[in-house]
Symmetry: C2
Subunit: 139 residues, 2 copies
């Protein structure tokens, strides 16, 4: 927990109990959670936790480069602690979001059609391996 504290300070964020628990949740669960998923989980620990705090904190983390915001269709933002360039796969059936690796060249593009690229997002949608597995069971 002290490590997380230190980590936040380095990023210019003063640590509070809420911020630390949010950060730890992001580290533990490799989920790409929504703000509401985070709230749901941590409010079991801190019953007074407000949604506003989650939104504020996630916006702060975003600004400070601690997390990146993911937009994978469906009208909700998801957060990712993994800042290493990678792509995502969303299962249309179960909604789960997976990290996937693609040719890293794509993330190196800095200019395209004369436009200056700051950020690159790649996501796939379809049916995940787990959902395929379930289908077989039900035969």
């Amino acid at each position: 927990m002290d490590k997380l504290c230190e980590f936040l300070r380095e990023k210019g964020v003063s640590p509070s109990i809420q911020r630390l628990k949010i950060l730890r949740y992001l580290k533990d669960s490799e989920n790409h959670p929504t703000a509401l998923m985070i709230h749901h989980e941590i409010s079991r620990d801190i019953p007074t936790l407000s949604k506003t705090t989650i939104y504020n904190t996630m916006n702060l983390f975003s600004e400070k480069g601690i997390v990146s915001e993911l937009c994978v269709g469906e009208g909700e933002v998801r957060y990712d602690l993994n800042l290493y360039p990678h792509a995502h796969f969303r299962c249309a059936e179960c909604g789960k979001i997976y990290d996937v690796k693609i040719d890293p060249e794509l993330f190196k593009i800095k200019k395209i059609n004369g436009n200056q690229v700051v950020h690159t997002a790649v996501y796939f949608t379809g049916k995940c391996r787990e959902c395929f597995g379930k289908d077989k069971e039900n035969l």
Copy 2:
């Protein structure tokens, strides 16, 4: 206009005046418009046009494979008549969305990490060439 009529029929959509105007707007403007942009434009022609009709129509067009839905960050869906696989660039400054071409191999991926891919989306964000131009003018 008769061509558009025919086109809709082929896709299994019975043509109405609203649907035809929406389709024509999509064809003419190479915009990637939001539902509200479409409504704003066409309600000048049909003042009674309701937003619900736009949302219904766009969902219908989506189901019938006439348009694809784009999620380029920012909490609104954008629609694209161009079904040919291509990527997008969104300017963080002016909000404009450009079609861009990338290595088509990426769109051929049908399986990744054991997951079955149905759809692939790629989008870049940054500052567009026009916004760069404006900066120079203001020197």
